[in-house]
Amino acid sequence: MNIELYKNLENSFGVTSLEVKNRNQSYIRVKKEMAVPLITHLKLVESYKHLSFFTIIDQIEKGEFELLYMLHSYSRNHDLGIIVSIERHETDMESIHHLWPAAETYQRELREMFGVEFPDSPGLYENFCLEGWEGIPPMRREFDTKRYSEDTFYKRPGRETNDPAKYMKEKIYPSEAETW
């Protein structure tokens, strides 16, 4: 990403923290309110026409979701990741389905997997991958998939394992007097 474009965006959209990975890839951060205007600008003016993907990274420690819009410009041959942080408890975000019809699918999935709402996105509340899901959305960090699996689906009983160190203590040094 050339510095000029970044400066430009910095001035107009308040873009921050440019992270250049290599010649073909960089990441920028932007505030929630400016995200969709920025993306619109990038698409319509700066030739970032291809939405590679759109996903969320759950930063549970910071109490926020990081939305990542990965745009690609064929003419610049450049990937631009736009990271937008939103509060974990205020989970709605402006939809971008009017820019890319395909984004509607991403937003459907994100609502299901993270519980982030995109008002006005068509078919947002339709099932995507899951059916009849109850409880917290599965891709959130606090959801423990292994525990859920053990609680919901029967595990085949009859397995037990031994820790080598503990087993050796029992076998060779069972005495209380030993120092471990």
Binding site: C129, L130, E131, G132, W133, E134, P138, F143, T145, K146, Y148, S149, T152, F153, Y154, K155, R156
Partner: protein, 242 residues
């Protein structure tokens, strides 16, 4: 006397040695108290359907159908084993190895096995590995629509004990809790040869009269239903699909 005979015969075929789980006993598997509780809440009256739709579906549980006795049943079993029609439903990644098996390299037609596009006409259901909850719903429906005697082949490790998705929130761990399984094939993916060997094993089982999965399902119908409803949270389909 004859009745006794019949019962014994059925008991013989019903509980073959060494395959306790082909005929799962509700009292020994799973958390029995839980199931009991569940059974009480379980209203097997097509309660997932609307009033209107309910009229379209049958509302009686399946019945155990006794096999004929003697040579006639043996003959039918022979025919069943030599004409295995696989339901064309690739439920998981196992479907990828069905393709070579169906086509010229391994050509399962020469063993009397062929795919069939509709559950009504099929006799084997090959569960291709892991079954996600959403697919499980379709598996149950498809399985129930198949006409007995019907057989289930658990392909790959995921059907045995969850396989590599043992900790996934969306795949079942033990297939035998939801539908009766006749043969398991270990592997991930099992090669087409393993699948073929599994089908051959299934043939032997059918010829020996041990392929009574449909009757097992009818016998333990409530147990299976309880298990199914435990994982399928939005039960909006009929309880009796035949």
């Amino acid at each position: 006397m004859e009745k006794d005979m019949e019962r014994r015969l059925y008991a013989d075929t019903g509980a073959p040695e060494g395959s306790p789980v082909v005929n799962p006993d509700p009292r020994t598997l799973g958390d029995s108290s839980n199931i009991q509780l569940f059974n009480e809440q379980l209203k097997l009256l097509n309660s997932g359907l609307t009033e209107e739709d309910r009229l379209n579906f049958c509302d009686t549980p399946p019945e155990v159908i006794k096999p004929f006795r003697g040579h006639w049943e043996n003959f039918l079993n022979w025919a069943r084993s030599e004409s295995l029609w696989i339901l064309g439903f690739g439920t998981g990644c196992g479907a990828i190895e069905l393709r070579p098996l169906m086509t010229s390299r391994f050509d399962m037609y020469q063993y009397g096995i062929q795919p069939r596009p509709t559950p009504r006409q099929s006799s084997i259901f090959v569960i291709g590995g892991y079954a996600s909850v959403k697919t499980m719903k379709r598996i149950v429906r498809s399985y129930e629509q198949m006409q007995g005697p019907k057989f289930v082949l658990g392909l790959g490790s995921c059907t045995i004990n969850g396989g590599m998705y043992y900790d996934s929130y969306n795949t079942v761990n033990r297939l035998d809790h939801y539908i009766p399984v006749d043969v398991y094939i270990a592997g991930c993916m099992p090669r087409p040869e393993a699948l073929l060997a599994g089908l051959m094993e299934l043939k032997t089982i059918i010829k020996e009269g041990r392929g009574e999965g449909a009757n097992k399902y009818a016998e333990n119908f409530e147990w299976y239903k309880a298990n199914q409803k435990r994982i399928i949270k939005d039960w909006n389909m009929p309880d009796y699909n035949w």
